[in-house]
């Protein structure tokens, strides 16, 4: 994930950009303040580099492992800045593969996370997983899940992580 700064003052001064492994040809832009999410071709990054009007402020990398538990797909990974070894946090993605409707899958996902939390609590690990559900409709996104939804979720997660940065630094 890359956070860039634009020069024009009237418009938002920064935005999130993210590339997802399952969409190698795409790049997603988000401006949280305006609730905007846009899908672009991945070559936009080359264009931005050439234009030189955008500067990367923070670049985060989410890397880890992917697991399949029947119809559930889990990704657990650590969040590290691109050129450092500091652990900023741990991110977990849960995907229920059979259906794409968020409403229909809501109960199943919640139960799964409950089961997961219960299993985790027995291990007495420090910290806990927090789930923040962004308001997708504000971004113009519908019930059918798309990569744009993923991009918005990551933007929310990163914003949250930065907001609790000091707390995490103390814990680490």
């Amino acid at each position: 994930m890359v956070r860039e700064q634009s020069l024009t003052a009237e418009f938002p001064r920064d935005f999130f950009g993210i590339s997802l492994p399952e969409q190698p040809n795409k790049y997603y832009f988000m401006i949280r303040g305006q609730r905007l999410v846009v899908e672009a071709d991945s070559t936009i990054q080359t264009i931005m580099d050439k234009l030189q009007s955008y500067k990367s402020r923070v670049a985060l990398c989410f890397e880890g492992f992917q697991y399949q538990l029947g119809d559930f797909q889990l990704r657990v990974g650590k969040v590290v800045p691109s050129h450092s070894e500091n652990l900023r946090g741990i991110v977990m993605e849960v995907e229920y593969l059979p259906i794409s409707s968020m409403e229909k899958a809501r109960q199943i996902m919640e139960e799964f996370v409950d089961i997961w939390q219960e299993a985790i609590s027995k291990r007495s690990l420090p910290g806990h997983f927090m789930h923040i559900e962004p308001n997708f409709s504000e971004y113009g996104l519908l019930d059918h899940y798309t990569p744009q939804h993923t991009a918005v979720q990551y933007a929310t997660v990163v914003a949250q992580m930065i907001a609790t940065q000091t707390v995490q630094a103390t814990r680490n």
Binding site: G70, S100, K104, A105, I108
Partner: protein, 421 residues
């Protein structure tokens, strides 16, 4: 049909086996390989028919043995059939091995380049056997157009006959044109049965119309067999890299298909596939055999986002939840067929509709939505819906009010389900 001498049949595969071991299959010219493979497939089909007959005879022998005051006769019959069956199965195994070796039942020969342009016969996932894989599409189109031409010719003939020779009209206009042989049979059948056939045709669209009325969230489509394959392949697949673009063009194609597929009474006499779609929940496919009847012969469940040529009633979803439901549905289908063939489709379709609560209704036994299935070690929602007393419930419940949804059969996890429910 004359049954070939069983002794001869035993010798056949052995003779072929000897041939095979003497010549390396690569030394055979491709046309000969293809011919041999087609031959063996035909053999296999005959052996399978023999096995089926043998099974019938075994059941017959058991039935006779169950009658009181029997001599040793059923025991003899049983022993004889047992020996014959074992031989058939042994021969079948031999043929199967030969077919595998020559690359027919797997794709091993596909990659070999072949200057003759011929490929080994292919047994496709939906069971069709084609001699030349690359010509399948052409053959399919040629076959389809031949059927259409014949149908048009027959229709023209019938129209002219009706026009110029009205006194020869024998009251069979209501029947479909397609099953011609059926027509010949039915002229010898007393009129009472004919009336029943006609009312069956009417009931098919009745079944569907009633279903659509009672289930507001449901979308029902009917297809002819070839049309279904096209539709399945054009369904957008959620793992596509460019889902937006492909879904646009596929929506266009599938909209066309939908219009032709659901033209109502015109297609009910040729309908072979029924699609039940609960958007965002599941897609169920039911196949009818023969086409135009109301006899379901297979059912399968898929994700609403799944697409591809494997989406048919003998195929399986890539998702575990739908695979389990498909297996359970096969048993429900057998149960409904056992109750009565006229009502089987009606009950089956309504039972399928009870799955619209698949991801929301908790298990009626343990009260949870997700549970670990011990056998497969998977977390699954309640994938079982009881079918044994389903028909009784349907008959006694009042037509579509929102409260009947609660009276619907409960939902059960695999581990929470028991057969007597």
């Amino acid at each position: 049909m004359m049954k070939p001498n069983p002794l001869m049949q035993q010798q056949e595969p052995q003779a072929v086996a000897i041939q095979n071991s003497n010549q390396a299959s690569s030394a055979d010219a491709p046309p000969k390989q293809v011919a041999m493979a087609m031959d063996r497939l035909a053999q296999a089909a005959r052996l399978i028919a023999d096995v089926r007959l043998g099974a019938d005879r075994l059941l017959e022998a058991l039935f006779i043995a169950a009658q009181p005051h029997q001599s040793n006769k059923p025991l003899h019959l049983f022993a004889k059939e047992d020996a014959a069956m074992r031989q058939h199965l042994q021969n079948l195994r031999t043929v199967g091995r030969q077919l595998e070796e020559s690359g027919v039942l797997n794709d091993s020969l596909r990659s070999r380049s072949n200057s003759w342009g011929l490929h080994m016969p292919l047994v496709c996932p939906d069971g069709a056997v084609v001699a030349y894989a690359w010509k399948r599409q052409l053959a399919g189109q040629a076959g389809a157009s031949a059927v259409d031409r014949t149908r048009l010719a027959l229709k023209a003939f019938t129209d002219q006959k009706r026009q110029f020779f009205p006194h020869l009209d024998d009251g069979l206009e209501g029947q479909s044109n397609e099953p011609v042989s059926k027509k010949h049979c039915s002229t010898q059948v007393p009129p009472a049965t004919l009336q029943e056939d006609l009312s069956d045709c009417k009931t098919f669209s009745d079944v569907l119309t009633r279903l659509e009325k009672e289930m507001p969230n449901l979308k029902v489509f009917t297809f002819e067999r070839l049309d279904w394959l096209k539709r399945a392949s054009s369904l957008p697949n959620s793992t596509n890299e460019n889902p937006v673009e492909t879904s646009k063009e596929h929506t266009f194609h599938s909209l066309n298909k939908l219009r032709t597929g659901s033209q109502g009474p015109v297609t009910t006499d040729k309908a072979a596939v029924i699609e039940l779609l609960f958007p965002s929940v599941f897609r169920a496919i039911v196949s009818l055999h023969p086409a135009g009847s109301i006899d379901p012969d297979a059912v399968a469940f898929f994700s609403p986002d799944e697409g591809g040529s494997y989406v048919h009633t003998r195929g399986f979803s890539v998702h575990h939840v739908f695979r389990h439901i498909t297996e359970h549905a096969a048993m429900a289908l057998q149960h409904f067929l056992g109750i009565g063939t006229e009502t089987a489709l009606h009950f089956l379709l309504h039972w399928i509709c009870s799955y619209q609560t698949l991801f929301t209704k908790v298990c009626s036994k343990c009260g949870r939505l997700l549970a670990m299935d011990r056998e497969s070690s998977l977390l699954l929602p309640p994938v079982h819906r009881p079918y044994r007393h389903f028909s009784a419930l349907k008959v006694s419940s009042t037509p579509a009010t929102s409260s009947t949804k609660d009276q619907f059969p409960g939902a059960y996890h695999i581990g929470c389900f028991s057969e007597d429910l």
